[in-house]
């Protein structure tokens, strides 16, 4: 019973904060609400007997991604970071479609037969490590390559000078010289 209450509480936190993420006018606030959602998710992981995941979630997401996002917002901020209100028609359409999708999904979930829970032993970090580095070693290595590629790509993209800026002053201000058009490895 206590787990029910705990789950309900965590779910409520996740959903409410998620709603704030998508509704906040201020981007910084949205990012911070995202942090709350992610922490809530970490709590959910803990409840689901996945403490290692919870730890990783807090460390990489809340620690890394959210920080990155904050930087992203700060770097691209303009005129105080206030956002123009979304167009109302798109707003309504989005609401209708999102709700409709949820209804359909909920229908599907409730109509489907739920598989009986298997009382599985809790996966320890040790087992996880073995799975990660034995069974899925190739995927793991491929992932490391992907990350490398992403880093290189991000650096390249971020350093790139666009040859035809719409508003030349900002572009000029953002880049030190005009001669670095070519990609720096």
């Amino acid at each position: 019973m206590s787990s029910q209450i705990g789950f309900g509480l965590v779910a409520a936190i996740i959903l409410v904060s998620a709603l704030f993420v998508v509704r906040s006018k201020n981007l910084i606030h949205a990012v911070l609400w995202l942090a709350v959602t992610l922490i809530g998710t970490a709590a959910l992981y803990a409840q689901l007997n996945a403490p290692f995941l919870a730890g990783v979630q807090v460390l990489t997401y809340v620690g890394g991604v959210v920080t990155l996002m904050v930087f992203g917002v700060m770097v691209t901020r303009r005129h105080g970071g206030a956002e123009a209100p979304a167009e109302s028609d798109s707003d309504e359409k989005g609401f209708i479609f999102a709700t409709a999708l949820f209804v359909v999904l909920a229908l599907a979930i409730w109509k489907s037969p739920v598989p009986l829970p298997v009382q599985a032993p809790i996966a320890t970090t040790n087992q996880l490590a073995h799975a990660l580095l034995d069974d899925y070693l190739i995927a793991f290595e491929a992932l490391s390559l992907l990350l490398l590629a992403a880093i290189v790509g991000a650096v390249v993209l971020a350093r790139r000078r666009d040859p035809d800026p719409v508003s030349g002053e900002e572009a000029g201000a953002a880049a030190p010289t005009r001669s670095t058009t070519e990609v720096v490895p």
Partner: protein, 600 residues
């Protein structure tokens, strides 16, 4: 050698010569060797034909051998082969003799040509002889058609021999178009025959209706090829070709192929009295009409050309009267004397360097041999008693007795008079009187030129006496009663015509009605009608078709492309280019798909 081998040799010897000249082009380009090769081919061909003739005289019978040519459903739809009988054998010999004489004559006549043109000329001659022999030995109508078209081709190329001259080019194309137009009749006739009998044999026995259709369609081709009214207009123009060509193709052999066709297909024509009726009238009209026009021509070759059309009219009329033998006999004698006339005319033209009768005169003093030859030919053509033309023409006229209320008979009698009259005119104008300016330096050509004249003069004189033999070969009782009505009237027509010519033209006078006829000739209504048909009918319709295709049919296709582009422009507005809208659409799609999955 078997008769088949001999016939094949007769046919293919010139083909080998032509092929050799076509492929080994240095021979052709050098000129003289081409003439020798061509002559060799003709000699071999004629030799084989004469051997066949000798065998025939020794009692050999008919030979017919065929091989499948076009296959259809495992059987032969069409065959090619050889048929040697009483019709093809005399024709083979006639063609061989005339061709050889003409080629020999050409060696002298054409020797001023550039070597390449000289070589081309003889190559075409070899090709012609081959094609003509294909016609002659054909055992069925399809092969006859094949050869028929091939002689048309060589005729086209030889008329256009002086292709640098626009008039020659025009005449060549005109000849080909006119005959090709008529040949559609041949093709349709073949198709009808094929549909109803499953083959192309003239011995097949279709119903009268079918036979009438077939023969009528075949006769259309005859009108074109044998220059009958109203498709005769190409023949005078065809005189643009070298004179020996006119002698061989457009007088003696090729134009006679039409008559030959009817003689061959006589069993079919016998089943179609309606067609014969038409032939009778068209032949008579052509004979008279062309004879009138021959009266006022100033070009010696055109006189002969119109006289050819007129004589072909005689043959067609005889065939229309149902006497294939008379037509064929006249074909044979005409081949000799008309070739002789043309070669003699060529000799004159060679000496005078002009075609015009006005430039000639008194040539008997300078060209005695030519004068004699021309005289023999002219008298033969005029049907002077004893000459070859007399026998065959009388036979034609006899066969017309009583047909069509005697009207065709009368018309042909009139033509006989006119023939004698205009030939007398030519004789007097060219050879009689005082020497003209251009004739003053004329002289006879070498033996290559005079030789053929001598050779051809013999049959032009005497071939009339061969009628009996040909008649037996064609299973036709040939009896000519010289004291019957027709021979007497015909010979008097000939004599009156010649005498009248003497009195009228002796002092440079003009023929009665010459003015009217000249205006008729100059106005050339038939010619103009055809020209209008070509300009307005064919070119007009084709212009319209071309416009429709470019601007309507293709326009419609372009309109399709245009609408696609325009439609794309309109549909483009659906694409906002905003990521959010695309995402929305993705979600909408997912919702719909999921809904389908859930509700199923």
């Amino acid at each position: 050698m078997t008769p088949v081998t001999l016939a094949l040799v007769a046919t293919f010897a010139p083909a080998v010569a032509a092929l050799l000249l076509l492929i080994v082009f240095p021979l052709r380009h050098k000129g003289a060797p081409a003439a020798w090769i061509c002559l060799l081919g003709s000699v071999v061909s004629l030799g084989a034909a004469l051997k066949l003739l000798v065998d025939r005289l020794g009692g050999a019978g008919d030979t017919r051998v065929t091989a499948p040519w076009i296959m259809e459903n495992g059987r032969a739809m069409a065959e090619m082969g050889v048929l040697i009988d009483g019709v093809s054998l005399p024709m083979l010999v006639i063609v061989g003799v005339v061709a050889l004489c003409v080629q020999l004559f050409s060696v002298a006549y054409m020797h001023d040509e550039a070597p390449r043109a000289f070589g081309r000329y003889f190559t075409l001659h070899a090709l012609f002889l081959f094609s003509m022999n294909v016609v002659v030995i054909s055992p069925n109508l399809l092969q006859l058609f094949a050869g028929w078209e091939l002689v048309g081709l060589t005729s086209y190329l030889l008329i256009g021999f002086y292709f640098a001259k626009p008039s020659a080019a025009k005449a060549a194309v005109k000849a080909f178009w006119m005959t090709k137009l008529a040949d559609m009749g041949f093709l349709f006739g073949l198709l009808v025959l094929y549909v109803f009998t499953g083959g192309f044999e003239w011995t097949s026995q279709p119903t009268t209706l079918v036979a009438t259709w077939v023969t009528a369609l075949l006769f259309v081709a005859v009108i074109g090829k044998s220059a009958q009214f109203p498709l005769h207009i190409w023949l005078p123009d065809a005189m643009e070709g070298p004179t020996p060509v006119s002698a061989l193709l457009h007088a003696a052999t090729m134009v006679a192929a039409g008559v030959f066709l009817v003689v061959r297909a006589d069993p079919l024509f016998a089943l179609a009295p309606g067609t014969r009726e038409v032939m009778l009238w068209i032949g008579s009209v052509t004979a008279l009409f062309a004879a009138c026009l021959a009266l006022v021509q100033s070009d010696i070759k055109k006189v002969l050309a119109y006289s050819t059309a007129s004589q072909l009219g005689y043959m067609v009329a005889a065939l229309g009267a149902g006497n294939a033998f008379a037509g064929f006999f006249h074909l044979g004698t005409h081949a000799f004397f008309k070739a002789l006339l043309f070669l003699a005319a060529g000799s004159v033209i060679h000496a005078v360097h002009s075609n015009s009768l006005e430039d000639m005169g008194g040539l008997r003093k300078k060209l005695p041999l030519t004068t004699v030859a021309f005289g023999i030919g002219a008298l033969s053509l005029a049907g002077f008693p004893g000459f070859a033309g007399f026998f065959s023409k009388d036979l034609v006229l006899t066969s017309l007795e009583g047909k069509g209320n005697w009207i065709p008979w009368t018309m042909l009698m009139g033509s006989a008079f006119l023939t004698a009259f205009y030939m007398g005119r030519v004789l007097i104008k060219a050879f009689g009187g005082e020497l003209s300016e251009k004739s003053a330096h004329a002289h006879e050509g070498g033996p290559a030129m005079t030789g053929p004249l001598v050779i051809l003069a013999i049959p032009a004189l005497a071939s009339g006496f061969l009628g009996g033999w040909i008649g037996t070969q064609m299973h036709h009782a040939h009896e000519l009663h010289f004291l019957a009505l027709t021979p007497v009237v015909a010979s008097s027509m000939s004599l009156i015509g010649l005498t009248a010519a003497w009195f009228v033209f002796r002092n440079g006078g003009k023929a009665p009605f010459a003015g009217t006829l000249e205006r008729l000739d100059a106005f050339s209504l038939v010619d103009k009608t055809w020209a209008a048909g070509y300009q307005v009918g064919l070119l007009g319709i084709s212009g319209i078709a071309g416009w429709i295709d470019r601007y309507l049919v293709d326009g419609l296709m372009n309109f399709g492309a245009w609408s696609t582009l325009e439609g794309g422009e309109s549909a483009r507005r659906l694409q906002t280019g905003r990521v959010r809208d695309y995402a929305l659409m993705v979600v909408a799609g997912v919702v719909v798909l999921a809904l389908i999955g859930v509700l199923r």
